[in-house]
């Protein structure tokens, strides 16, 4: 019994050893070439049985004489992504086609083998996965409760969609914003050039930036529309006071997203709009100067302002927004959709 149990371990260890051998193969061929004459008998054959130190010296000498060629690789894989290389579609198509075919074939083999071995009809993969997870975490009961919760029929009316659309736009902003952050550099020297790079060089960079730009505008419009709908219908009244309060906070956060994101291109409009905007924040009584210095990272708009706006825009604001959105949704879920008039 123990021998059978150890079998997979043994097989795995053997596979590891073989893999390691393959890994070291290039190195060993290098050593062989460094010690010539091992195969043929002659005066050089003495070098074959030499000690390790001599061997190492020989290797070093050979390395110094002829450096090993660089490993062969696609010299411009990133050009495919950046859009400089036009030959993307053929490899992409090849990978998709053969990859999909391979997956289907592997699945077919597994399915046939499984049916033959268990002598029982095949269970769909989705049900298998669900069963596997449910066995461990007992999720089916709470999930049934969550999914089976009745929703009033009037909740299908279009104006109840406004908040959900805003939430969806937040997801769109997160995705496109991450894509932009891959190429964006938040320094005064490089920010402008990196946006130019996104606009001109990156594949579909213009499209992604356009979606992010118009998505931000749409998010503000929809936030306001959702708020007006809630207000007109009186859905803010008890017991929904905190839904309303978190909603206001979310609106403020959305505006903060717009304000911090506006500086990031670091062009004239961005720079001076931020100068004026932070100046307005600086005219708040009592805490004005503090707010100004906190926002600008000093008395003037500078590289520090840019990096802290970037930090706010990509870290602090998204984290806060997601937490508040979670609360907002939980409260909506708990209290249900307010009755229409």
């Amino acid at each position: 019994m123990t021998a059978i149990r150890r079998l997979p371990v043994l097989i795995g260890l053997t596979a590891l050893v073989i893999a390691a051998a393959f890994l070291f193969l290039p190195l060993s061929t290098d050593v062989q070439s460094a010690a010539p004459g091992c195969e043929e008998p002659g005066p050089l054959a003495a070098g074959c049985g030499a000690g390790q130190a001599e061997m190492a010296a020989l290797v070093a000498a050979a390395r110094a004489k002829a450096p090993p060629p660089p490993p062969e690789r696609d010299t411009c894989l990133h050009c495919h992504l950046a859009g400089a290389e036009t030959g993307l579609w053929t490899p992409l198509l090849r990978w998709t086609l053969f990859g999909a075919a391979g997956l289907v074939f592997t699945f077919g083999v597994y399915r046939s083998a499984s049916v033959w071995r268990t002598r029982s009809p095949w269970t769909p993969l989705t049900r298998r996965t669900a069963g596997w997870i449910d066995q461990r975490y007992h999720l089916s009961e709470p999930m049934a409760k969550i999914l089976g919760k009745p929703v009033p029929r009037y909740a299908l009316h279009w104006w109840y969609c406004l908040g959900g659309i805003t939430a969806f736009l937040f997801v769109v902003q997160a995705v496109t914003g991450t894509m932009l952050a891959f190429y964006y550099t938040p320094t005064p020297e490089a920010a402008y050039a990196s946006i130019q790079y996104i606009e001109t060089e990156v594949r579909f960079g213009t499209a992604v930036r356009a979606v992010h730009h118009w998505g931000s505008n749409g998010m503000i419009v929809l936030c306001l529309a959702h708020m007006l709908r809630v207000f007109i219908m009186g859905a803010y009244k008890p017991p929904r006071e905190l839904n309303w309060a978190t909603g206001i906070l979310l609106l403020v956060l959305t505006l903060a997203f717009g304000f911090t994101g506006y500086l990031l291109p670091w062009d004239q409009r961005a720079f001076w709009a931020t100068t004026v905007g932070t100046e307005i924040a600086g005219s708040v009584p009592v805490i004005g100067d503090l707010a100004l210095v906190f926002l600008r990272g000093g008395w003037d708009v500078s590289g520090l302002t840019l990096s802290r706006f970037y930090g706010l825009h990509v870290l602090a604001l998204p984290a806060t927004t997601m937490a508040l959105m979670g609360l907002h949704f939980l409260m909506v879920r708990r209290l249900g959709v307010a009755r229409p008039l």
């Binding site: 009745p150 299908l156 213009t206 506006y262």
Partner: protein, 139 residues
């Protein structure tokens, strides 16, 4: 108990309600699909009409017309007529009042008359906001 929904809407057997899954989810999935298509259309249009970029930032040279994004234009226009401190306090106090409004207007009044009053108030405020925004854009 008074704060839970009326029983007809939460009762699974009721005619007034549908299950969250699949009925409600299906509708939401349709909306999401439409929105994804809309985002793709915006992206395609963005290829033809890029968002663009102005001149690089230059702290030494103030441009003639500095304007904020459109959603701050109303505040920007307001600041031209009132002292700065007042202009900043108006939106801040407005937001505070708005946040506390549910604690002020507590009476449950589902009558159409109440909502009509709220609608008129909102309409006046929105028209004012839009007017200020357009004014700020044109000035």
């Amino acid at each position: 108990m008074a704060y839970t929904q009326s029983s007809s809407a939460t009762d699974p057997q009721s005619e007034d309600s549908i299950p969250f899954y699949p009925d409600h989810i299906r509708t939401e999935a349709r909306v999401v699909a439409a929105l994804i298509v809309a985002a793709l259309v915006v992206g395609a249009l963005g290829l033809a009409f890029p968002v663009g970029l102005g001149a690089p930032a230059d702290p030494m040279e103030t441009p003639a017309h500095v304007k904020p994004e459109w959603y701050f234009l109303a505040l920007y226009q307001l600041l031209k007529f009132v002292p700065k401190t007042v202009g900043v306090l108006i939106p801040l106090l407005g937001l505070g009042l708005l946040t506390l409004w549910p604690f002020v207007d507590r009476r449950p009044d589902p009558s159409p008359r109440a909502s009509r009053i709220r609608f008129v108030v909102v309409a006046i405020l929105v028209v004012l906001l839009i007017a200020l925004t357009i004014w700020g854009e044109l000035s």
